[in-house]
């Protein structure tokens, strides 16, 4: 059952990632990204990280994609008649894709898959909320504080960036 679900979510994720890249309309790309995030959070559930699955939907699908859609509506840009892809960069993209495919193939062929125990034999520590709290407030206390400051700085930066300065026209 878990295997079938894995393949379902994996195809959902990969298929919608392709849709993000190949949709000519930015709104369609954003909605495909949303579907892909649902697939990723399904994968997280299969990996027993329930909290991260919920956070993925809340933060990414709830906040990030909504923000993207807002900006797309706000800017109201139509691609026009220009093609959304360009030829020289298509070559670069092909090279990049080939490189990453080769990396994956080497991983699978040379190591015959990584040697790990069966999933059932390992204790799913990520399923327990207590472990998150335990780690976040002991080992990772400093990073939590730093990330809090990062969010504050990002908020201030966004306010400054989106403000209109009347007296700064000469900066142009």
């Amino acid at each position: 059952m878990a295997d079938i679900l894995f393949h379902l979510f994996a195809f959902l994720t990969i298929g919608s990632s392709v849709a993000v890249v190949y949709n000519h309309n930015a709104v369609n790309s954003a909605l495909a990204f949303l579907v892909g995030l649902v697939g990723v959070s399904g994968l997280f559930v299969l990996l027993d990280s329930f909290l991260l699955a919920v956070l993925m939907v809340l933060v990414y699908a709830g906040a990030v994609v909504a923000l993207f859609l807002f900006i797309i509506m706000l800017l109201d840009m139509q691609g026009g008649e220009r093609p959304p892809f360009s030829k020289p960069t298509a070559v670069a993209g092909l090279i990049g894709a080939a490189l990453l495919t080769v990396c994956t193939m080497t991983l699978i062929r040379n190591f015959g898959g990584l040697e790990t125990a069966e999933m059932g034999a390992i204790v799913p520590v990520g399923a327990n909320l207590k472990h998150y709290a335990d780690q976040l407030f002991t080992t990772y206390l400093l990073p939590v504080q730093v990330v809090g400051f990062l969010l504050l700085i990002a908020m201030l930066g966004v306010i400054v960036l989106s403000k209109k300065f009347e007296g700064m026209e000469d900066v142009k």
Binding site: T13, L43, L46, S49, L107, I108, A117, I122, Q135, L161
Partner: protein
């Protein structure tokens, strides 16, 4: 055959590759940004899979920080794109060539 670590890593690598190609070939700045997010999400899949098969918490906690940084990054990046659009009236990368020559 049961689904193991390799399958999850393969999914992560494929999604990362698709996001990478998207960053290279798309011309719309917003879609490029979405592809960047796709690459971040792919890395979180790998983190959670490693953490699950290793029986440790560190990968899961790291995904926490990735989520936070991604949220901050999106807010700032989209503000920059909006400011750019106000100034130049476009978000297509081939028209943003003020530094060329």
């Amino acid at each position: 055959m049961s689904v193991g670590l390799t399958e999850y890593l393969t999914v992560a690598a494929v999604v990362f590759a698709i996001g990478f190609v998207g960053v290279l070939i798309r011309k719309n700045t917003l879609v490029i940004y979405m592809c960047l997010e796709l690459m971040l999400v792919a890395s979180t899949i790998a983190f959670v899979a490693f953490s699950r098969f290793n029986g440790t918490m560190d990968g899961n906690v790291f995904v926490f920080f990735i989520l936070t940084v991604a949220a901050a990054e999106v807010a700032v990046g989209l503000a920059i794109i909006v400011a750019l659009f106000r100034r130049r009236q476009t978000v297509q990368v081939e028209e943003l060539n003020a530094l060329k020559n």
